[in-house]
């Protein structure tokens, strides 16, 4: 007999769907302790006053947000203008993360498609091969990338030796280098969800479409892409969100010109020079942007299903 049934609080189907109140308890505890609580703490910190050696003073103020959005001059008594520095950093971060996501999608989709259409045995080998580099620490991989693409690195040397170029490409310390680094860091997060979606894709749908006079490109555009869209969206979110907050790739591959949100926040918490409330405020703003994007997406999805 189902334990939760007599009090009428949950139906049997809830229990079999894994939604019974007792089964859900650990999940709620986990989410509360490790997701909601830290975010709430960060929210609170963003309204506190900065202590000069790092840390905070429990004095509530809007200073951190003020500092982020408004420019009041060197001594803080000029008329307030909009402060473009941090908005600019955010904008650049969104751009960099977006480009990295697009690169991941362009390479990840065909890769996932290739793997998902192999026979069952070779599929798992390919998947394994895809994940192997990711057993290596991200820092080491990013540093390796730096050595690979710097002006005296193997890439440029090979291209010059083979006569394709006469002088180094000058890749390092550019936006593109950062995008390349982010792309390489998060590619599997694109490949795996798309792989899962393509693997479930029913290829008789493609045959049905061909039977109904659709050529290969029309099939891709009108049948395959819409059907595997959830996998694509998941992949894009999984690449975009961590790219937005990344600091290793921009620090190591980009140099000073390509400062991104991740580095900005990282600096606020590092050593004695930091500003915890400002870092927390920047994190909250970042979180709000990500949440807004996700909510808009979720909205559009539920509408489309009706």
């Amino acid at each position: 007999m189902a334990a939760g049934a007599p009090d009428g609080a949950s139906s049997k189907s809830d229990i079999y769907a894994g939604n019974g109140p007792r089964l859900m308890l650990p999940v709620w505890v986990f989410i509360g302790l490790f997701l909601l609580l830290p975010v709430a703490l960060m929210g609170v910190y963003s309204f506190l006053t900065k202590e000069f050696r790092g840390g905070v003073i429990w004095d509530f103020t809007l200073t951190a947000y003020d500092q982020f959005f408004l420019d009041r001059g060197l001594f803080g008594d000029d008329p307030a203008k909009i402060e473009w520095t941090y908005i600019g950093i955010f904008w650049r971060s969104i751009w960099q993360a977006g480009m990295a996501t697009i690169m991941c999608l362009l390479i990840g989709f065909p890769t996932a498609w290739f793997i998902a259409t192999r026979d069952a045995k070779t599929r798992s080998i390919w998947l394994f091969l895809i994940t192997i580099p990711y057993w290596v620490n991200l820092l080491i991989r990013t540093v390796s990338m730096k050595f690979l693409i710097r002006d005296t690195g193997p890439l440029n040397e090979f291209l010059m030796w083979s006569g394709v170029i006469n002088e180094p490409l000058g890749l390092i310390n550019t936006n593109f280098a950062v995008q390349l680094g982010l792309f390489y860091s998060y590619l599997p997060f694109m490949v795996l969800p798309i792989y899962a979606a393509v693997e479930r894709y029913d290829f008789s749908l493609s045959e049905a479409a061909a039977d109904l006079y659709a050529n290969v490109w029309t099939i891709l555009r009108l049948v395959i892409l819409p059907v595997v869209k959830p996998g694509i969206i998941a992949g894009c979110i999984l690449v975009f969100v961590p790219s937005l907050g990344a600091f290793l790739a921009p620090d190591l591959l980009g140099g000073a010109k390509t400062f991104m949100i991740g580095s900005l926040i990282e600096e606020q918490f590092k050593g004695n020079a930091g500003n915890w409330p400002f870092g927390a405020a920047a994190s909250m703003i970042l979180l709000s942007i990500v949440m807004a994007v996700l909510l808009i997406y979720a909205r559009s999805q539920t509408k489309g299903d009706k």
Partner: protein
């Protein structure tokens, strides 16, 4: 018969998968306006033949012609042939209407014309009320009708149906059969229908091709197939039949003199005979009458009765051990013999056929 009456001409088609031959020189001609059924046991090559017509498989030898033109060079999306797939293959992200409009839009219909046509076809399959639903919100029978509407909408020259009714329960299947047949008559499109349900084949088809392991066994009207099967396989596969091993004495002008297992001589129409002078006498269970022992063509012992509702089946055994099934109408006047009694069987003259293996 002119070539313009032949919608699909399948000419000696051979299809191999590696070392395995799925179709061994299959030939058949399907007329315009015809409801043509491919019937055969699982794995006999029905789907392979349909996929070859649709263009999803290339044939190794032979040709498939559509109104006289070889269609081998045409990819599937250029063939004016549509398919109702076994698992429907409806586009899950599109509504019913969008599914139906898909083929129309791809073949050059304007949006407005396509919408009107989709409405009409959905009316035909009685799904107008479901036009805005997604396939996942439909029952199996409704999905099947969407698949049919989608394939019919672009007015193909030929419609291929691969066991479209297999997922439906009996009641719904019977209703959809009638509907399907009616739609075929109304649209005048040649239907090539695949099934391994012989009752379905008999009730719906203008003609049937019976296949087994990549060979065509017989092509004919349901009546021809049922009443004059040309070999043991066809007789056994279509409907129920008793196959008695008999010795053939003589065959002349289509009539054979045979010796029944009882030693009784019997004369019957002969279709085919084995070269060694033996054959099988095929007798339909409903073409046998009971009579007192010794008074018929052979005597049998009654072993069991099976109640079938409209009919009652007697399982009996001939003295040499062969089984005979007799079907009696479940009428008040029918007197059933007791189990273990010996009764005589009278085989209706002309209803039995001599067949080779």
């Amino acid at each position: 018969m002119t070539s313009s009456d032949i919608a699909i001409d399948i000419d000696n088609v051979v299809k191999r998968y590696g070392a395995f031959t799925a179709l061994h020189g299959v030939s058949m001609q399907i007329h315009a306006n015809e409801f043509f059924t491919l019937l055969g046991p699982s794995g006999c090559g029905k789907t392979t033949l349909l996929r070859s017509i649709a263009g999803f498989e290339d044939v190794n030898e032979g040709a498939i012609r559509l109104y006289g033109n070889d269609i081998a060079p045409l990819p599937p999306h250029k063939r004016p042939i549509n398919t109702v797939f076994q698992q429907y293959a409806l586009f899950p992200h599109m509504t019913v209407t969008e599914n139906v409009m898909f083929g129309l839009r791809r073949s050059g219909w304007s949006r407005i014309e396509a919408a009107t046509r989709a409405d009409d076809v959905l009316k035909l399959v009685q799904l107008s009320n479901f036009a805005d639903r997604k396939p996942a919100q439909l029952s199996g029978g409704q999905q099947q009708r969407v698949a049919l509407a989608r394939a019919l909408a672009p007015r193909p020259k030929v419609l291929l149906l691969d066991e479209p009714l297999s997922a439906l329960d009996l009641k719904l299947r019977q209703a959809v059969r009638v509907e399907l047949k009616q739609i075929q008559r109304e649209t005048g499109i040649a239907f090539i229908f695949v099934t391994h349900d012989q009752e379905e084949a008999l009730t719906m088809s203008d003609r049937i091709a019976v296949m087994s392991s990549g060979h065509v066994q017989q092509i004919g009207t349901p009546r021809e197939i049922y009443e004059t099967p040309i070999n043991r396989f066809v007789a056994d596969f279509i409907g129920e039949t008793n196959l008695l091993n008999v010795t053939v004495q003589s065959v002349s002008e289509g009539t054979a003199q045979v010796i029944l297992p009882s030693g009784h001589p019997f004369s019957c129409p002969a279709a085919t005979v084995n070269s060694d002078g033996t054959g099988h006498l095929s007798v339909r269970p409903e073409r046998i009458e009971l009579c007192p022992a010794g008074g018929g063509d052979l005597d049998v012992k009654v072993e069991s009765q099976v109640y079938l509702g409209t009919d009652i089946q007697l399982h009996t055994r001939v003295a040499d051990g062969e089984k005979m099934i007799v079907r009696l109408q479940n009428a008040q006047s029918t007197i059933l013999p007791e189990i273990d009694t010996v009764v005589g069987l009278k085989i209706e003259a002309g209803a039995a056929r001599l067949l080779a293996d």
